[in-house]
């Protein structure tokens, strides 16, 4: 819309649902067009029948009041002042140091500036940041990467020092810093802004897991380990502050939010007890390399052991998941071995089993939301979507392709439990740099 106006000279009204009024305003300002033509209809728009949508058109603008269509006409026909025809630019630079203040006031400032997770933070004094920087050989002013809450939003940039500031805030130790840097350099975010409330899951592989005392055993995904907790919290805080915020209604749109975001569900894979090769080795890394992998996850379903009717149970557990968002198995080593006992002795074989056995009718697969999300792939003849779209309504088709199924092993073998998360790695186009590897190396950040 901004381009239609500024590059092609076409007066254009962008219509949004009203809950995004502040986001739209912020986006217009950061695009140099602060009074872009905007009109608003009520939410929700998804899944509404034609009669409701018609009432949106015939009703009032949901933000500004007055008839919606009158506002659209006014926006397209009213004369504009010179300042709107020129656009606006301004200096957005921020000082390296904040105004000195007391501990109590600074805690309040950080909280009210939306720089925290609303819990107390360790204030990033120069001495503490300097100590954190000792955890890496990289220089403080080196660029770490670019960051944004989601595709289509502006890209912010970070340096090693900026990541160190956030690592201090999270209470991390210098030995955690290489993992935090690797996560921040990965092109992923721990504060994705999606309306769907996706959270993050950070999985660490390789020698650094044990060097810094990460937990891959009992309680690996819970609040029972300093490194797990601090690295995950640091990645979350750094994500929100380095990308320009994660503020509800402005730079975060998750309708319900996600509790996993507090520490980005950070843990180490239990390589020692897993019957599979380590996750990062299956992705082309050497066992002696350390890596960090960011998954985007929603909810999970849980069960214990592969019991007598496990194929039926597994199919039932998975068949209600959304097709495009992937499935992420987190297996206790006991359950990983039970899969091996069933002949599924690798990640690839588990993914293949899911592909062959977890199937749903094409009519349910191709509901309106799914069609909407991949219509350009279907129309472009991209496989497998193009072939799947040709299936008859009652034909059973694979819910997940093999590339949509991931498996990691974590847990302390107190019993044979496993969870299947709706989730996957983010497709490259949605990451801040689509050229970066999906499994990020840690060692260059030591």
């Amino acid at each position: 819309m901004i381009e239609l106006e500024s590059k092609y000279g076409v007066p254009t009204v962008a219509v949004h649902v009203h809950v995004f009024a502040r986001l739209v305003d912020s986006t217009a300002r950061t695009n140099g067009m602060p009074r872009a033509r905007q009109a608003f209809v009520p939410a929700p728009m998804f899944n509404q029948p034609p009669a409701v949508v018609r009432r949106y058109v015939e009703g009032d603008d949901a933000v500004h009041g007055g008839p919606f269509m009158r506002r659209v006409f006014d926006l397209l026909t009213r004369p504009l002042p010179d300042e709107d025809l020129r656009g606006a630019r301004w200096d957005r630079s921020t000082p390296r140091l904040l105004e000195p203040d007391t501990e109590e006031n600074l805690q309040q400032l950080f909280r009210e500036s939306h720089w925290t997770d609303y819990l107390p933070i360790v204030l990033p004094t120069e001495e503490r940041v300097e100590a954190m920087l000792a955890g890496t050989s990289r220089s403080a002013d080196e660029v770490v990467g670019k960051h944004r809450p989601t595709i289509g939003m502006e890209l912010w940039e970070s340096t090693v020092e900026k990541v160190a500031v956030n690592a201090v805030m999270a209470g991390a130790a210098p030995e955690h810093f290489p993992v935090i840097l690797a996560a921040c350099a990965s092109g992923d975010t721990g504060r994705q802004s999606s309306m769907s409330s996706m959270g993050s899951m950070v999985v660490v592989n390789g020698p650094i897991r044990n060097e810094i005392g990460m937990n891959s055993g009992i309680g690996a995904m819970g609040p029972y380990n300093y490194a797990n907790s601090a690295i995950g919290r640091a990645f979350g805080l750094a994500s929100q502050n380095l990308q320009g915020g994660s503020v509800p209604g402005v730079s975060y749109g998750g309708s319900q939010g996600c509790n996993l975001s507090y520490n980005c569900c950070t843990f180490a894979e239990n390589e020692e007890r897993s019957p599979f090769r380590p996750f990062h080795v299956d992705r082309g890394h050497r066992p002696d390399e350390s890596t960090v992998t960011v998954f985007y996850v929603w909810g999970s379903v849980w069960s214990e052991h592969l019991r007598t009717y496990w194929p039926e149970k597994l199919k039932a557990m998975m068949s209600g998941l959304e097709p495009l968002e992937g499935a992420l198995f987190v297996l206790d080593p006991i359950v990983a071995r039970e899969f091996c006992d069933q002949g599924l002795d690798s990640r690839e074989k588990i993914a293949q089993w899911v592909f062959e056995n977890v199937r749903i009718p094409a009519r349910r697969y191709w509901d309106h939301i799914m069609l909407n999300m991949v219509h350009e792939l279907v129309e472009g003849g991209v496989e497998p979507w193009a072939s799947l779209a040709k299936a008859e309504p009652d034909e059973l088709i694979p819910l997940f392709q093999t590339f949509g199924v991931n498996v990691v092993v974590a847990g302390g073998e107190t019993n044979g439990h496993f969870s299947i998360f709706q989730g996957a790695q983010m497709p490259p186009a949605f990451r801040s740099d689509p050229t970066l590897p999906l499994v990020a190396p840690v060692d260059p950040w030591r």
Partner: protein, 102 residues
Amino acid sequence: MSVATKTQPKLTVLNPEGYPPKVDARGMAPGLDTLQGKTVFLIDVGFENSDQFVEQLHGWLEEHEPGIRTEVVRWRDQHNPDPELCERIAAEGDAAIIGVGT
């Protein structure tokens, strides 16, 4: 910021925010004198139910504003620019309504 006490020392701390990109000014297109006799492109941006919104918008305009020509089009990919469509709208249209941003 009203809770400072005289006994608390003042600390100097670093700003945790990243570096934002420069804002380039982008000018808006001038408004039209009237929409009557003009061609307005109605753009389905591709988000869920946007097609339904554009269909209802189209119906309303045909019913209430028959003097405005309308053309319904679809943005190729909701997350990326569509220069071909933009060029067509610039060549054949006078204004546009795009929705629904969600």
